[in-house]
Symmetry: none
């Protein structure tokens, strides 16, 4: 639970989707790490493996209080499903509204050997159906993870002197040097830090295309294929892939370059699709220019 | 509730007292602003007026989760007393311990007119004694506030080539330009931001004196005499005032310079005493060199 | 004065040159804004116009205290020259050393009308020679500013599949969305924020070239040709321009894209040359691979 500050928001005062994704992931990491260490055994840290598709139901504003709550809803042998809810509270009027619901999957990695995945203590279900539904969600996400791994080879090449409203015109990338405060106890980047940077790039792509105030409407399922080590340089690239009258779809790639570790080449760590909408100064939806 | 990161801690991995004070104050600001707006009326923001003396019972470490909870324990006509508890949780072992308890006083200021103090909706007490005890605490702090205002005129002048272990040797000051994210909706600095800077200066004074790893042991009552506006430059100065065998007492002043606002001179905004202890590399208490 | 934290430094524990440049600029901005408002008149904010060439005499480490002090050394009718000294203090040993000396030029801009440059109150010189020498420095920097404005048109185009140790292999760019905390009261980016990002890009270029721990050795004179507005996206690009056996020279450009302001095209705001050295894990200088 924390107060939203000017630094969490865009110039129009709407909190960045990335700020919210980062808070969601921190809540998920706390609850799943706590759960995976709840039985005697090797100490471990829960690492984010996947975030299911999530909608941003309404924008949050500077001065509001974000209430983030998390619950474990399913455990497989080696993974934990966490449901996170975000409520926005206006402490001046007392008004509260749900702004996000997200489902995250974590995997416990040994503190002694980061390549060792440990076993997850099973949770108790109130009803047998809850376990069956959880198992179904588990199988579905596993399948989806495998599929996305294959379409994961694309690169974004720059275009010289692009025309307005083409893909090349708005595509953007940013680089970030991974510092200690970006990382877990294991020395790998928090999933939430990566998602915040991904949202930042997607937002810049959307704003370059529309030249208006834009906000995150939803994020497609995100798979975290590979860990990113402290000291790496990460390149986050985004490009517009589709526009409807009301929204824009932006694909974002994260490539990691562990360049102080000579044994490794640059690799693709994460990819995802973000959907943005364009807003007028009064916060009303605006039509999106067609992508050429 | 959040995970402690490397930037929240000193080189030995102990979380700065100032980081904890900032979290305590944010919790207090949320609960008291929410309470003061709970009845129809002029919207307001709760401003920190005073923090009672507080002890840091045990140091918190990087990777632990800080759990901060707040409760309103007394209301006078124009002020709210909030009790905040901080628990440190090691999510690997499940161990929890209380690290802090603090009592804070807030005053509701109108969002429309920052110089107008509004009325506080009364709370219901479970027992009559609670109200009486609260009233007693209220009277005591009111008296103490008046007294400190008078001894509030001191300045710290630099000393050239000071001898080790003298006051002049370790005294320190830092300046900070107040940015937007340091401020409340009213455009004045959050009390927690000020306290974090005060702890930083006190820590530098203590480390200069001892030349060891030091941690905050307690903070004396802090009175916030005057608000500090966005865009001001604040000077935070600290000097050692007393040493016992086991601890050091450091006085800290905060002076604000609203220098683009022509109508105001530099003024003393806050002052307080911090107590620090010196620790060995293994975290054991060390004797403190005598102050000359 | 503040303690250097893990996020201020690279993985080897050396504080980024950019962190130091940002502190230097903040000190300069405070002292020159204070001076320019010291006489009754229109309130103003001092904006950074130029930083003279500066050397990083020795690296600073995490846990050390940076002492930054600033002094006004010359005033022309519309500009202020500030001399800033940075000392690094190891508060455990008491050892102090000078790590930087920098000279900065500021211009007072009216708070009411950002395009209006105000007059600077003159300072008193202890000796006539000081004024004469200041005037000479003033004329020299004025000339240099004019000259750099002309050679300021270059762009960095990406190279597909570059060979190691070529210019294209290490060239890098990052984008940054200008947030509220990056800006002055006037809503324009602090010069120090820009320099920190420039150093970040230059450091990534140097590390990609060497694949070792690298540190900033010096920065050439930097001229701030144009202001950058809050909400702009800035692209900071760097490429290696020269290597000797012991050091690398990296050119850095800053381009601003005020894309919510439709009346303005992307423009070149700043450019500069950074010099880096390569260090072994023990902190000894290493030979630099030759630039192809």
């Amino acid at each position: 639970r924390r107060i939203m500050r000017p630094d969490d928001a865009n110039v129009a005062g709407n909190v960045h989707g990335g700020t919210i994704l980062k808070m969601i992931e921190e809540a998920g990491a706390i609850i799943s790490t706590r759960h995976c260490n709840s039985q005697a055994g090797e100490p471990c840290v829960a690492a984010l493996a996947r975030v299911e598709r999530t909608d941003f139901l309404s924008p949050m504003c500077i001065g509001e209080v974000a209430n983030v709550s998390a619950e474990i809803t399913y455990t497989s042998r080696h993974s934990v499903e966490v449901q996170v809810n975000v409520m926005s509270e206006n402490i001046l009027t007392g008004a509260k509204r749900v702004t996000n619901k997200a489902t995250l999957w974590y995997v416990p990695l040994s503190l002694k050997n980061v390549n060792k995945v440990l076993e997850v203590p099973p949770i108790q279900y109130a009803r047998k159906e809850q376990e069956d539904e959880g198992k179904k969600r588990y199988e579905e996400q596993k399948l989806d993870r495998l599929e996305t791994k294959q379409r994961n080879g694309d690169m974004i090449y720059p275009i010289i002197n692009p025309e307005p409203h083409t893909v090349g015109y708005s595509q953007s990338s940013l680089i970030h040097l991974v510092g200690p405060s970006d990382c877990t106890l294991l020395g790998f980047v928090h999933g939430g830090v990566t998602m915040k940077l991904m949202d930042e790039v997607a937002g810049i792509v959307a704003a370059r295309h529309c030249k208006t105030n834009i906000v995150t409407a939803s994020v497609d399922a995100i798979n975290f294929h590979e860990k990113i080590k402290k000291g790496s340089v990460i390149t986050i690239s985004g490009r517009m892939t589709f526009t409807s009258n009301k929204s824009m779809e932006i694909e974002v790639f994260v490539d990691a370059d562990p360049f102080v570790d000579e044994s490794r080449e640059r690799y693709r760590a994460v990819s995802a699709f973000f959907t943005y909408v364009s807003l007028s100064k009064e916060g009303k939806p605006l039509p999106v220019p067609q992508l050429l």
